[in-house]
Symmetry: C2
Subunit: 394 residues, 2 copies
């Protein structure tokens, strides 16, 4: 499909990760361009988040520096200074201003960055940049922590005025794991768009995608989604129609990236899609979807391929949404197990087999006759998740 | 210490549990007396909960029938009819009215009760009742599901007018597990008190005790706390002073019972006490305590005796409460690990050892300089919990 032109990428190992794995990525634009961002709502937030929030949306973006292996969060004034140094060093090597450089960090909370390694790394990374798929791939790998592999997406939007390319990368396997993982996502495009439009599109896209996924529901100090558009396609996204087309494509790209996170959830053996229907409104449907997704009893039932529907119905019951039990029905992977408030006779072995055979589990829950609906994606909860997160890591 | 007089107890195996374990308890009063109740806030609720809610508070209580092994929830009209039959059969054998009989059920969701076994069991149980510690103990055992053993409390309140005895029993190891466990608690006393006062005392006591515990945070369809007072002590609880004294004792008994639930949480290897200080008000402190208690990453860190404090501070950050990170400090089992927004150098081995050596973990988190505080108890999250709840149970 090809990457949007006009961008350069790189990923190197500079020594932030003791393992020696790739830990520093740079994405830069040959010309100043548009960048928009959406960041964690956690009050405890990384230095990089504070930095980016002041700078986006912007039309003067030049580069994004991403380090993995250290979150630079809960690190006080020294962490803030270190973050600024990263932007300043990258700006120097790119002949830009530090305010044109965004920074993303992910990894250990509460430890200071090894600044000698990091600043040397930035110089090296910038000298090795390029626009090939190979360069892009190195960047997608350098942002990972506990992920099993890179999470990427590429697509082309065909508009009346021409084609626009979109590419994206994400990382994340736990919403947060201090000394481990947080969620980052970057969307790049050659669309020609104003920073305000880019920001509005991103705000809405995140609601349909990254705000609808969970692994264990622990909101990170470092979560960030950044979209960069350099106008290289010469296709202006300005008319209502082209804005709608571009937004639809960005949203779809965000959904495709977002789903890859719970699918790669720490220890996950199932990706669970939760569809709620019949709620009073979409907001209430969303509450129910989130509550079902957060239930350890629901997640462990899916882990065991157990059609233990009482756990799902009872989770919906404490979500704080209106619910008519006599109009509540539930399907698991298409099998009806609870029908208008009454237990249904079903072949438990057959349903269990269906849950076991498929990596993707579909929970369809109707809680009344209202127009509200919502979709959410989560991973199941396995012994492997607990083993992984209870190992002595400090 | 001795049980309150005037009550009779029994626990038998009537065949509701396929394992043949004790599954039916009856607690009755020789004379009509006061009963108050607090029930689950889940919209999806068991037939027994609807029944009791209409009847309490009451001054005409005669008996409480409790079955384990079947929750009689999500069972439609037939479940409602079965519940009424239980009350009617018990009433017949006790020469009472069915409206004088409360019912509690716990166990499998979505299956109908074996009514032949249950009604035969009620007749047998009532014929075997008695007021001894031995009879009491059989009742405490017959209400259990996945619990490792009975949870009880006994105490005496000395007032100016004489002594009042209080005894209690509880069950619960997961807040809910369809086909398994829910939380039930019963407080009995020989206090002479009005049903209104008993209800008010119970409402406040539950806020300080059972509403402050969690295992995995899944609210049951069957949770119930019932207090029965028969006046056998002839000590009237009526004056402000005696009401205060009695409430204090009831609250303390509820706390002692409540803590036994997360201590016996499914698979638990630690009982975690979370103390929040410095919040804007108690309600915000409570939100933070609940959010920390619900974090799988916090729970698994404690499982692994890992002083991974970033997980705790970051959980507080997304609780939705006001928080001043520069005034945030954290102690783990008495060791300072985060001090006014800055990481602290501490001996990780020593703190880990302290977490590992003690069954009880104390998290003390200050999030500002406000007057708000809250305490919450939870269990850690182990591979055993996941194994237990992901086993194929249907």
């Amino acid at each position: 499909m090809g990457l949007p032109g006009g961008f350069e990428f790189t990923g190197i190992a500079c020594g932030i990760k003791p393992s020696g794995k790739l830990d520093l990525a740079v994405i830069s634009s040959q010309t100043p361009c548009v960048a928009a961002g959406v960041y964690t709502q956690n009050i405890v937030r990384a230095a990089s988040i504070e930095w980016n929030q002041q700078l986006t949306p912007t039309e003067g973006f030049k580069a994004l520096v991403i380090n993995s292996g250290n979150a630079n969060a809960c690190t006080g004034q020294r962490g803030i200074d270190d973050n600024q140094t990263i932007a300043a060093i990258a700006a120097k090597h790119l002949d830009a201003d530090e305010n044109q450089v965004l920074v993303l960090s992910t990894g250990v909370i509460g430890q200071h960055l090894p600044m000698q390694e990091t600043t040397n790394g930035i110089a090296q990374a910038i000298s090795e940049q390029g626009g090939s798929e190979d360069h892009f791939e190195r960047a997608t790998m350098a942002i990972l922590t506990t992920d099993k592999g890179p999470k990427t997406v590429e697509s082309v939007v065909s508009t009346k005025s021409g084609d626009i390319k979109i590419a994206g990368m994400a990382k994340g396997a736990g919403m947060i794991g201090p000394k481990m993982a947080t969620m980052l996502a970057i969307i790049i495009s050659d669309a020609k768009i104003s920073s305000d439009s880019a920001q509005q599109i991103l705000n809405r896209a995140v609601e349909q995608s990254f705000n609808r996924i969970s692994v264990e529901g622990h909101t990170s100090t470092n979560d960030a989604l950044v979209m960069i558009c350099n106008g290289n396609s010469e296709v202006e996204v300005e008319s209502d129609e082209s804005l709608r087309e571009f937004e639809k494509a960005v949203t779809e790209n965000c959904i495709q990236l977002a789903k890859q996170i719970p699918a790669d959830g720490e220890g996950a053996s199932h990706l669970i899609t939760i569809d709620i229907h019949g709620a009073t409104n979409d907001q209430q449907a969303d509450s129910v979807a989130r509550t079902v997704a957060a239930s350890a009893l629901v997640k462990t039932a899916i882990t065991g391929s157990d059609p233990n529907w009482g756990r799902i119905v009872s989770a919906a019951g404490y979500a704080g949404a209106e619910m008519d039990v006599s109009m509540t029905s539930l399907k698991l992977n298409g099998f009806l197990v609870f029908d208008n408030g009454q237990p249904v006779q079903f072949d438990e072995k057959q349903v269990s087999q269906a849950l076991n055979d498929q990596f993707e589990t579909l929970i369809e829950l109707t809680i009344g006759s209202g127009p509200g609906s919502a979709r959410h994606w989560t991973s199941d909860l396995t012994q492997e998740y607990v083993r992984f997160n209870s190992e002595y890591t400090t």
